[in-house]
Symmetry: C2
Subunit: 395 residues, 2 copies
């Protein structure tokens, strides 16, 4: 209960997945602040968890532990003295909500028998959780990356339940380049000899494949500029004892390799390979316009405020995608603003630049999207000159 | 002998590698045109071969077979009626020059006992070949990608033997982002259970790991824009029968995945995993300024002409790198020009845009770098607005 966090697992009963399959679903969540205050739902990113702020339980580390600690808490932009903050682990993940590692009806982990999961399933599972918690209307839904897709999916799917949203470093749908890199990442996992047919639980796990996938992901989350600033071509201090590459002899172990190796290895300790496959699929598959003639049509019933934040150095979820989302919201009845934040940090900026993310989110919550617009007019970059227009569609 | 190609393997005797190790080196090459004409050396890219033009022998396919057929031949920009064109397979590769697949002194393939290979070793092996062929001075050295590093290494290492160079879609050294992706690619190979200690010859080969590595490489060679144009989020016609991903059920097999899978599989039929590891190391390790105080100092003795070509959509070897190379040449006594070509094709533009690569190369050969400068002033994009300045260092 440190810093006022409560956590629990709620069984929301039988849950039918969008692409087929049905199971008895547990939803694990963390909550902060006074439950009688207006509720802000926070949506976590691909490998995040419900532990959005404060310390997390043992085994929950890296970007799953207190990943928005600078944004959520007493006096912080998402102020737990004013709001009841809820964050739920998504179906398919491995932090307490039912997923491939969970015990199925036969007593073994579901593994690859787990149903296909979509972002829409995440949204629906959160709605079921909130029903169980007695929360009808959300004061706000906030999240970044694929969590931002989850956010806009709320406005699309339950427009009447949401008053304002902040969709950060996200996209209406992934482009072919990201789909391609995610394909390579999935193949790295499924071609690991330990992956086999996906039922690897109890035996050696496909950690090497998962680590390769994570290295690919990690490069996607950083920008060229930030990687040059941080690593350039410097040689690492630690030795690459743990990577048996006989062709490495005669060559330096570089900082960038050391960083990617280290983080990939740590990642395999905290995340499940099947969960990674499932959630990556949900990310790849998300399309705001799905089942509608257009993005705007998908959001036409949403009357709340919308804040879209993008980062200039983000080549994974670039500002052009944010603009498409903002345009879709703007076509509807609510107030919408797209704020492009100058940052070299790449996609990771939504996590590592809280000083730039926090103020507009605070303004949205306290005074609405229009107030952010006014501030944006005063402070924001008028255009986004640092973004990579040449590498983007229709630019 | 179709279209006048001659091919041969020359034993250049004992060869000491830069990073240690020595062996009896065979250099396989192809030659086109009249040997009494001025010689143009063409340097191939990472997985290319000596078969720069025309049909290649069986087993040499994809980008290893006739990869610059549009540039090299009678009447073409590198006109085999005027020049004697030589292209040699580099040490460490697998198209006839000694490499990991070659038989070592014990009668088995060298495998991971092959010495560490550098771009400098490639240059030195080519010099030894040319000595054997009786070619002292090169009318020109031309190549793209890591072959372009090979080209500038010629100007650095043997400035007195080279009269003009064309370095295309290349870089003075890779940046951290590319080093990071290449690290992920290498780990995919070495973590394949079939890779083992690298002595996999005669048993099952690490094709799955090599295929993952190639998918990563393939995305690096394309641009975001070209991938969107070509694939977007379209669903593939063929089925993904060959990829056992149990978590794929319920999701479409997309064009981009189909393309990457297909090409990666074909690639494993024509290339050796150890060769890929060795050549990727050479690429990562190349640094124009190595052993010199600066890039300009490395090229200070080169008095010939230099043409540097870059492509706006190339995020792997971006135009900024070409500019650094051109600046280094310009600081020396010879004429140098950097021409930035508008292209959405990404790094692959050097292969797939012969109509844009050919004319400046022809001009360089016929009239020198200064003549390209004049044309560039008339035709080229004054700045390179489509390049991704925000994602690049010091932009």
């Amino acid at each position: 209960m440190s810093r006022g966090r409560r956590e629990d697992v709620v069984n929301v009963g039988s849950f039918a997945f969008e692409r087929g399959g049905e199971l008895d679903l547990d939803v694990a969540y963390a909550a902060y602040g006074d439950p009688t205050d207006p509720t802000v739902l926070v949506c976590h990113a691909l490998t995040g968890s419900q532990y959005v702020a404060g310390p997390a339980p043992e085994g929950v580390s890296g970007q799953a532990a207190g990943w928005w600690d600078a944004l959520v808490g007493p006096g912080k932009p998402i102020d737990t003295r004013a709001y009841h903050v809820v964050c739920a682990n998504v179906p398919g993940s491995c932090y307490g909500t039912t997923g491939p590692v969970s015990e199925g009806p036969d007593g073994d982990p579901y593994g690859p028998d787990f149903p296909a999961v979509t972002v829409g399933d995440w949204t629906r599972s959160q709605a079921r959780l909130l029903d169980a918690l007695g929360v009808d209307t959300l004061y706000a839904v906030v999240g970044g990356s694929v969590g931002g897709m989850n956010v806009i999916d709320w406005a699309k799917r339950y427009p009447e339940r949401v008053e304002r949203i902040a969709a950060i470093a996200t996209s209406p749908r992934l482009d072919a380049q990201c789909l391609g890199l995610n394909t390579a990442a999935r193949r790295a996992i499924t071609s690991d000899a330990n992956y086999g047919d996906g039922d690897y639980y109890g035996g050696p796990e496909p950690d090497e494949g998962l680590a390769v996938a994570r290295r690919i992901g990690h490069v996607m989350y950083l920008s060229k500029a930030s990687m040059t600033d941080r690593f350039d071509r410097r040689v690492a201090e630690r030795r690459a004892d743990d990577h048996d590459d006989p062709t490495a002899e005669g060559f330096p172990y570089r900082d960038v390799a050391s960083y990617l190796d280290y983080n990939a290895e740590r990642f395999t300790e905290r995340f499940d390979a099947n969960s990674y496959l499932y959630l990556l699929r949900a990310l790849d598959e998300y399309d705001l316009a799905a089942d509608y003639p257009s993005d705007a049509a998908a959001l036409a019933d949403y009357e709340g405020d919308a804040l879209v934040l993008s980062f200039t150095g983000d080549w994974h979820f670039p500002p052009e995608g944010g603009e498409v989302i903002a345009d879709a919201f703007e076509a509807g009845p609510g107030a919408a603003v797209h704020r492009v934040i100058e940052s070299d940090y790449g996609h990771d900026a939504f996590l590592v630049e809280p000083d730039r993310v926090g103020p507009p989110v605070r303004t949205l919550l306290e005074r609405g999207a229009s107030a952010v617009t006014t501030e944006a007019d005063q402070n924001a970059t008028p255009d986004y000159p640092r973004v990579c227009t040449g590498l983007l569609p229709d630019a």
